[in-house]
């Protein structure tokens, strides 16, 4: 179904999509409408324009493709599905997402993958093509975040990367490791073997946005994991 989103609010758009028996939707002239696809299952939405905040919040198994930039909090508490952004996106991308995948061609803002978690077979993925802001993977509890730094000079992540990280893993394609990592995070140059574990995600990235998987994988990656030897355990005494 083709929908001209011009002058239509988010409630109307979501209602149309939710109540329609069709599975595929193409939205034109999207300009800042928030919450598109919130909690949605079993649909595919192609967006032309700039969707507003909280795109695909609580997404539960739909696919959203954005031809344009996305704003803040895409995939907030997402449980399943895919969000593919042919552009940049804003802060708190994938906040607390539990499964599914987010692919962004360009850059992303602050707090990407914050409190992302995994459970049993649920394992979320975020792949960012360019660079990200501060607090990447803050409180990360599971899943995988990959930052490719394509066309970026210097380290493609901001400050305070991995603050509070206690699960999951991050791969950062960079000549140098992120600076100022907390002691609760281990950072090593990824071995060839470890790089092969992310090949499938890079392949999906290049399939969406173009590029050469082998060439991307041939560069240096740093792998970040929680340092279980140095937990956050606050020392308490019962009172």
């Amino acid at each position: 179904m083709n929908i001209d989103a011009k002058n239509h609010g988010y409630t109307e758009l979501n209602k149309t999509i939710r109540e329609s028996s069709e599975e595929k939707f193409e939205l034109d002239n999207v300009l800042g409408q928030r919450y598109i696809g919130a909690g949605l299952s079993g649909k595919e939405i192609l967006i032309h324009g700039t969707p507003g905040n909280a795109l695909g919040a609580y997404l539960n198994g739909s696919k959203i493709i954005v031809h344009g930039n996305a704003q803040d909090a895409i995939g907030d508490t997402m449980n399943d599905g895919a969000i593919i952004v042919h552009g940049n996106c804003g802060d708190t991308t994938g906040y607390a997402m539990r499964s599914g995948e987010i692919y962004v061609k360009g850059n992303a803002g602050y707090r990407v993958g914050i409190h992302m978690k995994s459970y049993q077979e649920l394992y979320p993925t975020i792949v960012i093509g360019g660079k990200v802001g501060d607090f990447l993977g803050e409180y990360q509890a599971g899943g995988i975040i990959i930052v490719l730094g394509i066309g970026v000079e210097g380290t493609p992540v901001g400050s305070f990367c991995g603050t509070g990280m206690h699960g999951g893993e991050m791969f950062i394609r960079s000549e140098n490791a992120p600076k100022g990592l907390p002691k609760q995070v281990c950072c090593n140059e990824a071995t060839d073997e470890e790089k092969q574990t992310i090949r499938k995600y890079i392949e999906r990235f290049t399939k969406h946005f173009g590029g050469n998987t082998d060439e991307l994988l041939s560069a240096k990656f740093y792998k970040l994991t929680p340092n279980s030897a140095s937990p956050y355990k606050q020392l308490y005494v019962n009172n």
């Binding site: 907030d76 802060d91 509070g164 019962n238």
Partner: protein
Amino acid sequence: MAIEFMNPLFEVIRDSDRCIKCRVCERQCANEVHKYDADLDKMISNEMTCVDCQRCVCLCPTHALKIRPNENQFRENANWTHQTMDEVYKQAGSGGVLLSAMGNPKDLPVYWDRILLNASQVTNPPIDPLREPMETKTFLGKKNQGITYDENGKAHYDKTPYLELDVPIMFSAMSFGSISKNAHESLARAATELGTFYNTGEGGLHRDFYKYGANTICQVASGRFGVFKGYLDAGAAIEIKMGQGAKPGIGGHLPGMKINDEISRTRMIPKGTDAISPAPHHDIYSIEDLRQLVISLKEATNWEKPIIVKIAAVHNVAAIASGVARSGADIIAIDGFRGGTGAAPTRIRDNVGIPIELALAAVDSRLRDEGIRNDVSVVVGGSVRSAADVVKAIALGADAVYIATSALLAMGCHLCRSCNTGKCNWGIATQRADLVKRLNPDIAAERLVNLVTAWDHEIKEMMGGMGINSIEALRGNRLMLRGVGLTQKELDILGIQHAGE
């Protein structure tokens, strides 16, 4: 061995004439206070680990046991009390942050006890609830103001989702993890039977309890544990937890060792991993951001569920509540500084936040002044201990109250304030299977129903005495309240007159 500076807090008094050495006390005590010594052929006590939960006392078949405060006290000092000194010793011995459970036990003002209710005499007769209709049903949500009429004169309103409560009392948020599965089941069943609601807390909803969804409030907190579409759809309302009265401004940390199979499945996190709830929601820095979370939840649930925003009662609570009312939330829940908790740093619990009575009065006045009181309902918690507290809260401006400590007491809790140890002998605040099974949901649910039913009768009697026959007519009716022994400033904030005025 280093000298232990502290004394046991309690003495175990065992009447040897009565004790039959049946060893019930030994089997019942998860703190391992009681032990049978075969050589001496008598029961002995390790009082150091006693928390005064009264389990052994209640189960001793011959009433041979008493637990008393230890008479041995440090030299009396009004400034350096025994407790204050003990805390210094504890921290000097461990280097740890003091951790406590349940609500603030300090001797700070309880305003409920300084407020008195009115009754009718002579000119405005009281109503007898035994023979005249008396309504304690209440509705939570936006009160619709716009009514339009069609050409046939039929009224139409924009209906927004609401909660319908048969009694103005709900069970406040307690997560599965902080309390046991049997405790959750008891609350769920009691809420269903009473026509009211219980609250999942931030630990997700156990798969066995989806059937109680019509009487469930599903909480969403910063950690988003167990939050997915099915969970959001399961309950009658969704509560966003911004703060908690016992620990305003800080998050939670359920240690990995407490994440067993069931809790792992319910929170949807791996077994044995830490469950960290950050202090803030990292996507909320403003009322506009809060609005985004409120509306995203409404969009995700097709605008079918009322959204509650729960905040702790703090200094600027009236301004904060005004912002929350404008965020699109349907209900504001305010939690006072005496509210309970499964674990909170002692210093936070005892020193942060303000009394719910003052917070409630300030919020209700502010929302009225700004003309937005009907845009939201107000629910208050944080130590509502009796039907009288409920009536006073409603007269101060609340639509309904949340109770939790009272509910735990109904199930058998004796307020030993040791929930954080996970060794609750009453089977409430524990995940140990041998302890959990001590709480029988059939009995606990019945006791909860008894409690709330009794309070409902008392509410009706107090309302009848005032000549009021509905919650609607009592709400915000501060003329029914008078203060005793309060300063003018306190009376001004409460918006009530002094007794005799």
